[in-house]
Amino acid sequence: MKKASSPWTKGLSLGALLAAVCVLPFIVKPFQLEVLIFLFINIVLVVSFRLIAITGEFSLAHVVIMGTGAYASALLGKWFGLDPWLTMLFGSLTAAAIAYILSFPLFRMKGFYFLIGSFAAGEAIRLSWGRFRGVFGGSKGISAIPPLEIGNINLGMPVPFYFFALAWMVICLVIMYRLEKSRLGLTLHAIHWQDLLAESVGVNARHYRVLAFVIASFFAGFAGTMLAHYLSVISPHEFGLGIMLSVLVWAIVGGVGTFAGPIIGVVLLSFVDESIRAFDEYRPLVYGIVLILTILFLPEGLQGLPARVTLFVRRFWRGGRRETVEARPTGAGVASDRPPPSAS
């Protein structure tokens, strides 16, 4: 049996990690600070994406939903002069509301049909931003979005925004983690693996899928509002299919089976992305190779790598003797940290 780490060990590890990220902005280069800021926003985005994935559905509208939050916050600020703090809340709520409306047609579908349906819905929204120039600014988008401020501190500056984004990322992650570990989270896992069984005991699977979709969209919208108020400019292209594919790659490479998987994916691939900039137009090739290798050899994602390495080392030391079931890495798919469903 794998020995669980004690609360003290976990607490100390998290404390050390938090201390390290608090020191980072004072030692890294300015452009690396930007990478970290956008990384925090992307972590919120990809973890919220997983919240839908644990119900068994992959939404290709997630980045566009992020964009609805960004657009709503920017437009409320520009039209009504509302305080950015308020517009961020309304922006997140707008994203959740749009997701709720979309859920009516989308959750009549499942699996591949849901995937394609969500893509179509997202593109319809995104193309409307380009089409209705008077409202959404067309393909140029919206610029001069007011930055956030706390008293005299301008959060539009990198170091203050770093801590702002870090704090909100931690808050969002804690909430989403608690949600997954709650009764709601257990139900979401259940309807992924055995939706008919769950329904037979009185669980309304559609209702819970919609709930996960709306909650995840709220957090994606929040990530969008952070992006809008930091960049001060947004456009339809910022929320295009390319970014959506990146989110998918982060999640798949990291592994959607555990809460940490997508975080590992986005962190690692963001740094890989920066380190291979010398290749310019050939970078997507590297991304593609990483994705193919992961799917082929690490179907559970990078989060399963330690278990595989452990297995390999044990085999090596024991002269290639076959390993026991307990030491094997977890299987592919969502909720792989749970016992496999019974065949009965």
Partner: protein
């Protein structure tokens, strides 16, 4: 001998490839023509991957060749010394977030002295930082200019204003043309272009009898082209659209039997279009982006050294890649080089002052800084621009027309159309 590729071999090989690429990634970023001695660094920040790469990457190829040629000739002279030029690129993926990161890396870490950028959102996103740093940067679309972006200039591209020169040429040379129909890309690029064309056609006395807009969701141009041809125009205008769309529109017009005159901003990769249509179909097409082996571009008033040699090397090295932007970023650097030598300094503000202190040495001849009336700031040189016509399957410059007289006389018409179409 049959070689079996096992799973393990494949994994090891792939891992080795990734490791090699990652290791190579730690090497200095893509830069070229770095030789001994003090170099002047220039940043190139644009979409080298993704949807918009087609209007940036060919420009980077051009910059590479231009830098090679300039460095081979000694470089740029500052303070009596010759300096080599080094261009450092960063792929912004046409994303604001990446543009901000790239701008900070290029300015603060690589210490570039001048920043060449693409257009719109990435340019907007990076401007607050660049303005704070007093870094001179460039855009390909003058509509990006604003008083809030005082050091952003549009030194070469005069889109959409040069479009009036093509319409004026039509007015003078084709008085039989009385009506025109538009197929227009429904975005800022297309609508700015449409507004300018509409003003120019109004001045020329040519009536617009159909305007058909299309969005990026389009998959079939047949109904769009059918609708405009049904209006029976004397001429078909393709406005300004992405190259792939231009190709598809022309193909449809050919298939539907159009045999009349054509006009548009660009005609990228025309050999491929001729292959799908015919040389006769494209004969007489009026647009604005020449091949650089055109005899007119070898004349002394052109501020681009060795244009024909530049074109020869480009087309040899990158077959099929030549398009509207292939020379534009290089032409920006040619203008920058002139300003550096005039200022006797490569410092951004000195170069900026040198650029703005006189009439701009635009690639196509003398030009005046302009833009306040439309964009609130005079950061775009406006002067001559070529009118190009397809003749026997080859673009030929038929006029090097100055757009300033037209703008001076008809600016009110232009502004009215731009306001009507909500582009200013």
């Amino acid at each position: 001998m049959k070689t079996k590729v096992t799973r393990r071999k494949f994994l090891a090989g792939s891992a080795g490839t990734i490791a090699g690429l990652s290791l190579a990634g730690t090497l200095p970023k893509r830069s070229f023509a770095h030789e001994e001695g003090e170099v002047i660094k220039i940043g190139f920040l644009g979409a080298l991957t993704g949807d918009l790469a087609g209007w940036v990457l060919p420009g980077l190829y051009g910059v590479e060749i231009w830098v090679e040629q300039i460095n081979a000739a000694g470089g740029v002279k500052v303070g009596g010394d010759w300096h080599q030029i080094e261009v450092i690129s960063y792929d912004d993926e046409y994303l604001g977030a990446k543009a901000v990161t790239g701008a900070k890396k290029l300015v603060l870490e690589d210490e570039v002295k001048f920043l060449v950028m693409s257009f719109t959102t990435p340019v907007f996103a990076a401007q607050p930082f660049l303005t704070e740093q007093k870094m001179v940067s460039t855009t390909l679309t003058p509509s990006d200019m604003s008083p809030e972006r005082p050091y952003l200039i549009a030194p070469v591209e005069q889109h959409p204003f040069y479009l009036v020169t093509g319409v004026e040429w039509i007015r003078r040379n084709r008085p039989d043309i009385k009506t025109v129909a538009f197929v227009t890309q429904n975005d800022e690029l297309g609508m700015n272009s449409l507004a300018t064309y509409a003003a120019a056609f109004e001045v020329a006395g040519i009536e617009i009898i159909e305007e058909k807009l299309f969005g990026f969701e389009i998959t079939d141009f047949a109904p769009v082209v059918s609708a405009v041809l049904a209006a029976k125009p004397d001429m078909l205008c393709l406005d300004t659209a992405y190259p792939d769309y231009i190709n598809l529109i022309l193909e449809q017009a050919f298939l539907q039997g159009w045999q009349g005159p054509l006009i548009g901003a660009s005609l990228d990769n025309y050999p491929a279009i001729i292959a799908k249509t015919s040389q006769e179909f494209l004969e007489g097409y009026i647009f604005h982006y020449p091949d650089f082996d055109d005899p007119r571009l070898q004349e002394p008033d052109i501020n681009f050294t060795n244009a024909a040699e530049f074109y020869r090397v480009y087309t040899e090295r990158h077959p099929g890649a030549w398009n509207a932007v292939s020379w534009e970023y290089a032409a920006i650097l040619a203008m920058w080089k002139g300003a550096v030598e005039a200022a006797d300094s490569a410092e951004p503000m000195d170069v900026f002052q040198a650029m703005k202190s006189t009439d701009a040495p635009h690639i196509f001849g003398p030009a005046a800084w302009w833009g306040t009336e439309v964009y609130g700031i005079d950061n775009a040189p406006v002067g001559k621009w070529p009118v190009v016509q397809m003749q026997s399957g080859k673009p030929v410059i038929v006029d090097m027309a100055d757009m300033r007289p037209w703008l001076a006389e008809h600016q009110d018409v232009l502004m009215r159309h731009m306001k009507d179409r909500n582009v200013i």
